[in-house]
Amino acid sequence: MQDNVAEVADERAGALPSVNAKVVSPESGLSPPVLAIDNLHVHFVTENGTVRAVEGLSYTVKQGEIVAIVGESGSGKSVSALAVMQLLPPNSARIIDGSIRFEGRELLGLDEEEMRQIRGRHISMIFQEPMTSLNPVLTIGLQIMEPLTMHLEMSEAAARARAIELLTLVGITDPESRLAQFPHQLSGGMRQRVMIAIGLACNPKLLIADEPTTALDVTIQAQILELMKDLSRRLGVAVVIITHNLGIVARYADRVNVMYAARLIETGPAEAVFARPEHPYARGLLAAVPRLDRGRSVQLATIEGAPPNLLDPPEGCRFRPRCRYAIDACERVPPAVETEAGHFAACHRAGEIDTLERATIKGVDAAASSDARADGEAILDIRHTSKFFPIGGGFLRGPAKLVKAVNDVSLQIMPGETLGLVGESGCGKSTLGRLVLRLDDPTGGEIVFEGKDLAPLSRSQMTDVRKRMQVIFQDPYSSLNPRMTVGQIIGEPMHVHEIRPKAEIPGRVAELLQLVGLFPYMALRYPHELSGGQRQRVGIARALAVEPRVIVCDEAVSALDVSIQGQVINLLEHLQHQLGLTYLFIAHDLAVVRHISHRVAVMYLGRIVELASSDDLFADPRHPYTQALLAAAPVPDPVIERTRPRTIITGELPSPLNPPSGCVFHPRCPKATEDCKKAVPETRELKTGHTVACIHA
């Protein structure tokens, strides 16, 4: 058997992927599936007990097929992938039962050396974090050549030639000089391309990608995924994509497996699962995602509660405690029911849910109001504000260079409005948020809050302003002091700003906790006792404690799982409605921004390139960069995705140390002309409230 595999391997190894490689369709071939997982059970032994991380997982992947595994954090999707590679931590993980067959050969029970011969040779894996997944002290070249010299016993020179070919294949320019570079000299997107090159080095038959683009910007994400899809189609590589992003699934996957709390709860062809989801969790997940093609008027339907603790999961159906259609039968583990060809759902009421839901939902709550007042005086008026950071320089080193993180930005935010601020990482959106809060001092310009310029204010005068302007941070794990109780965390700002007499603080804390959907008894808990979503609610309650008028939300929902994210977005909208809050909502997720904002500003390399009402911007984007961003962001609907034109922007964000002349976007812009290089384009108002900084718009 093994000889046989080796023989086939040698044949394949010689042939490089080239343009004339035959196109393999997923349907072809009667041979066994590339990967067949059957009834897999994985446990983790921890100090607190046994965590059942994967329970009874079964699925198959055929040649040339792209299968997505979707689920929230802790659902067991990554663990199942590591089990295939047998790279689970040996001290705590146990594969209790099941079978993993690769081309018909059982992998469980192989020894370390036999597995080593398969890893990287026949099955490759791409990991989530391109920043940490490459060895910082070894060259890119060596890291790509390693599998070639080890598995295919290529000579140094042959491996080198192949490495150059691979880098070209994954779209890295100037591959020869890249070989001698180290990972820290490449951007995140480039590193992920290198990871893919390593994965493809030996022409594997199966590629497992674990959240391959989660850490990347949307334009880079689209480039990477297009590349993977193209390679899968051309070379017939079977691909397993693990992701929590339903848009990616809709755009790229042939089949979808949805996991919840260690179990597979729904599986089927992508079109079927998206069009006719059967399991209440899968339905809830789809409804909870903010979508680019839906505006503010549609309120997100959320799944209440949080996923169960896998140390002590509920009996029967794991989703039962959160499911509004639960019946007595759900106390038994539901079998997988085939509702149409190839589409299974593990639900006792599969097939009924759709009718049930129609009966219970009383139309969409359109009252999610668009009550922003475009008239009147701006509560926050940012006028020609800039922030330049000096880089380098110092003792005996010469003068510093300037990074223009925020460059002549003007924005007005009306009372009661949500202004969304989007852009890729490094565009300066977070810096702008910090300038508004005066956490950084602006290099130039004015920031007028309630009619007063903040820039010249002293520290103590700012304290007074901060009472009316608060912030919610991205990371609900590190932004709360672990040694303070929730009550102390929320009470502290009231105490500092002397908003309430000391005796009234506990009562007010209880009120705030209820306002953000928590319970008053949680005031005595510590942050680590709460889930991510609950912590983010605590962060919101803390911001509300001083009764602010403006809240800067810096990626406030980015770290949360889809179902929890929907809950927090709804909470923010509800609070705005109730308390008349004004939000500056900074995020990289276009769909979230689209959903929550009245108006949206698009930022690129320190400048605002387009500003319009949310509906207007997404329906009729005028700046080529905005158009590119929107094209790159996938919509969770395979039918729409398959018909959408896909113009994918190439290249990466240029270094802000050395920005391009004229329009900063021109090197990546499909419409760029000579004129674009000459002068920074003026911001023009195309129609009322829609401004663009582009001479071609």
Binding site: M85, L87, N91, E112, R116, Q117, I118, R119, G120, R121, S124, M125, F127, E129, T132, S133, L134, N135, P136, V137, L138, E146, P147, M150, H151, F182, H184, Q185, M195, I198, A201, L396
Partner: protein, 317 residues
């Protein structure tokens, strides 16, 4: 890179000036001075006049400010002055003892590196097995046993079992390598054990840390041979903190072997330091402190260069 080294060496000057100033004033806080100690040692009644005369001869009667000025003037000419006790040049006093201390420090470092790197690596690979436990017991013992006590045990064993002791008196390694190594190996071993214990523990924990890194998982997912994952991917990254520990220990050894030198009856820098302090020999103390400061600065420079060699992120930025 050369520019970097030159910049670092230039920074040595302000550091040394700071050290020189601090030590000058700190030692003058000590009660008594070299003259009283010397006179008392002679054991005879000394007249007040003789003490005053001796103070005058040594320049101790001048004001602190004046002495400080002279001291700085001397330093500017690279002149550390003369020992107040022996009247010999401070530089000569130090140079007489420095080779032996330096050699012990180097040998102890070699012993530590040879023991610690393989032992720490094995311990990390076989984590939580009997091999790991054995190594950890050996390492903890090294930390718990004082070097001088181990030195005494070594001397007793050499004498009691082999009825042999290294000859007293220093022979240069260039004159008679065998006699030199036979004499200095034992003190180097007794301090090297503790040194190795520190480095072993650092090696083990650094390696365990690195083994959890994503890039190690990537290497394994590529199907890289286990031993190459270890040697190429893990060890080099794990060496960074170990290099720091080894370097700082080395600098410490140059002046810090006070008791061990006593046990093996070696006339080294440690012993000189103790003598100079008990005698109130200010000029000699100042010279020794500067020597140790220079050692630390140079060792730190070497550590930083090793870092740059091991880690391209430092080298190329």
């Amino acid at each position: 890179m050369i520019g970097y080294i030159l910049r670092r060496l230039l920074l040595v000057i302000p550091t040394l000036i700071g050290v020189a100033v601090a030590v000058f004033f700190l030692i003058r806080v000590m009660p008594g001075d070299v003259v009283t100690v010397k006179m008392r040692a002679d054991g005879i009644a000394v007249s007040e006049d003789a003490i005053i005369a001796e103070r005058k001869r040594l320049g101790l009667d001048k004001s602190i400010a004046h002495q400080f000025g002279e001291y700085l003037w001397g330093l500017a000419h690279l002149d550390l002055g003369k020992s107040l006790w022996t009247g010999e040049k401070v530089v000569d006093e130090i140079l007489l003892r420095f080779p032996v201390s330096l050699q012990i420090a180097i040998m102890a470092t070699l012993i530590a590196v040879v023991i610690a790197i393989p032992l720490g690596t094995i311990s990390a690979i076989y984590r939580d097995t009997w091999i790991d436990y054995t190594v950890r017991v050996i390492a903890v013992s090294g930390l718990a046993i004082p070097s001088f006590w181990l030195g005494m045990i070594i001397v007793l064993v050499l004498l009691g079992v082999f009825n042999w002791l290294p000859k007293i008196g220093y022979v240069s390694i260039f004159d008679n390598p065998m006699a030199n190594l036979a004499a200095l190996f034992w003190p180097a071993l007794s301090v090297g054990y503790r040194y190795a214990a520190v480095a072993t523990r650092m090696m083990r924990s650094a390696l365990l840390e690195v083994m959890r890194e994503d890039y190690i998982r990537t290497a394994r997912a590529k199907g890289v041979f286990r031993r190459i994952v270890m040697r190429r991917h893990a060890l080099r990254n794990a060496m960074l903190p170990v290099v720091t520990v080894i370097g700082l220990e080395f600098a410490f050894l140059i002046g810090g072997l006070v008791v061990t030198e006593q046990v093996f009856n070696i006339n080294g820098i440690g012993k000189l330091f103790v003598d100079a302090t008990t005698r109130g020999d200010f000029t000699l103390i100042q010279g020794l402190v500067l020597l140790i400061a220079v050692s630390f600065i140079l060792v730190n420079l070497v550590i930083d260069l090793l870092y740059a060699w091991l880690d391209p992120r430092i080298r190329l930025s």
